[in-house]
Subunit: 183 residues, 2 copies
Amino acid sequence: MKFALPGMLLIAAALLAQGPAQFTADGELKRPANYREWIFLSSGVGMTYGNQTAQNEANPAFDNVFVEPSAYREFVKTGMWPEGTTFVLEVRRSESETRIGKAGKFQTKAIATEASVKDKRFPDGWGYFDLGTGPSAKVLPQTAACYTCHKNNTAVENTFVQFYPTLMDVAKAKGTVKKTYVE
Amino acid sequence: MKFALPGMLLIAAALLAQGPAQFTADGELKRPANYREWIFLSSGVGMTYGNQTAQNEANPAFDNVFVEPSAYREFVKTGMWPEGTTFVLEVRRSESETRIGKAGKFQTKAIATEASVKDKRFPDGWGYFDLGTGPSAKVLPQTAACYTCHKNNTAVENTFVQFYPTLMDVAKAKGTVKKTYVE
């Protein structure tokens, strides 16, 4: 048996240790160490709200979106995000596939990780972060483009659920798509 | 507290219920119901081993690769896949992003789900499946292109770890990249 019970208990323990976003004493968001093991929502390529300097026409950047598992479970049940929800947007360079086919692009080096957090401490209820490479990050100033774009162009709350096909179905079923959102 | 303990225990219970691939009495692979909650390895776009008929030049298909969590943990520890490892490859159509930017592509409808399983019951140690839409699927015949392509073009065992950047780093560190693999 390679899938031993202790290993599975470790996984369970890892999950039990997750939950709402964690902040330092001076209000910085702690870097989520294991976001690659969170729930994947979707990826896009060449989405211009990614890191544009990392893109070129031949090999545009990918963005992967992950959400913390307990927030995901709540959204599946209700179509809404609970307080403390954390998203991570990971931006990766792409390369062209040249071995098997000739047309594809695949992901390589991570070049940026950003986060958004639902928390009442932020004026609009959501804060945005460039995680950089340190152990924690300050919230971006209210003048950052994230705030207006996430307020004006998102399908559910301040989140781009229109780009997460499995969750858009949930939001439609639960009636939580914003009335102002036009498909 | 929106992140109540019962919810977290449910997550833990869901994970504890996972593990090696499950087969019906007559040897068909049971469809993994919750693969979207497995570990995401990477996505590509326009990769020609996807469903080519679903692609066109303007909006090529995306492929998302997920692996069952306990197999992932084992790979992170050893750089090898345990018996029973299950991968799901999900192919989704793309659309062009026209609201925020003008250049990006995002994922929409799922149009195919395929699986690969490491199991000694298969001649080469790995079996490949088109999951279709039913509750279980027969293994594809040994003449299917999957077998030779996964044997000849993969970086670790019969898996395309070269396209999963976080795992390629693990395989290099553990020395499990195939000697025949040329980057």
